[in-house]
Amino acid sequence: MTIPVSLVINGKTQAFDVGAHHVVADVLRERFGLTGCKVGCDQGVCGACTVLVDGAPVTGCATFMFAVDGREVTTIEGLGLDGALSPVQQAFLAAGAFQCGFCTAGMILSVTALLLRDRDPDEATIRQWLAGNICRCTGYNAIVEAVRRAARQVAEAS
């Protein structure tokens, strides 16, 4: 069965019918071409499909599309402004905080949500927030460094 939904995706209102069993990650990728949302495990474990719903990180693979009806969804494609990268994206680049990149979009969205709540997170907080985003290529040191850089950049800009 299909269900009508209406929500804001990356700042634009979208109204459409969706299969009840379709999850956020698949709809974003297949209907809207937002392939920055990666599907890793389909079990809500790896965090590659993390998107923001009303600013809070959720797993796109373990959230049905009907559950975000009326909400605001942000993907990695919606972070930059006028083609410029967001401070968190810039910090990940500057710190070399990725290798294959599969986990990066989810990481950046989690970190974006963290910095909205805590502008100067300590290392324990950073690692706690990254617990839901698994990197299988390399360690987390460069990633933690990127979060620190992003926090400094946000603090300097304001």
Binding site: A20, H21, V23, G44, G47, A131, G132
Partner: protein, 291 residues
Amino acid sequence: MKAPPFHYHAPDDLASAVALLATLENARVLAGGQSLMPMMNLRLAGPDHLIDLGRIADLRRIEETPQGLRIGAMTTQRALEKSDLVRRLCPLLAEAVALVGHQQTRNRGTLGGSLCHLDPGAELPVVAAALDAVLHVAGPAGARRIAFRDFPLDYLTPSLAPGEVLTHVDIARAPANSGAAFLEFNRRPADFAIVSAAATLTLGVDGRITQAAIALGGVSHAPVRLAQAEAGLIGARASVSAWESAAHLAAQSPCDGDELYPADYRQELSGVLVRRALAIACQRAGGAAHV
């Protein structure tokens, strides 16, 4: 894999949800979906009907009552984590819920979902066991209360009759001079616990222990209360030897094992976590830690 198709129902009130659940064949309740959806994606679960409780606002409340705390089953784990009321009235729950899954799953996952799913490694059932939580359910035959100790029937199986829905959970206020601690051991921060331990203690005016509760997770299909260890603590003075006696009993408690974490390993962990949890609980109750 992807979830198989199903019929979606989004009732606005509890009575409609119960009526749907009682009449539809092969129907499941959807709370936050953080256990059910992975099971559907893996095709371990294939309900024909999914009854979404998300529109029933009454199920999302956190309230202070004369007896303590009343929490709606659909309250998200993240809402519990951020609640001042939970931190003040039930610090054990506040401490444990921060260890449930990760940020993304806590934003969707609910108290009721976790209690009804009853994963052996889950944190919230252990808290419910330690605090003697009372569960309220609604069903075709009306409402009833279930003591948490009677709730788990078997692996992943709650004591819910067909058509019954968990609506809210009551947790009694702790007496003065009480302290609690929740500890778990796992290999990665967001994982289910290999073993978890919850402990509560109340100290009398003479410094002796007047109340003790210890619950273990990860050692059986459901949380285990250590009645013998608790009885041994009551009337005792807070001391290293008191914690060690309880830890010794914890390490001897019957335990399930698997190929990754055999029973003797989990028993060792049980002893260590119980000893540490009691010391922290004692300190939080206003006593010395005795470590």
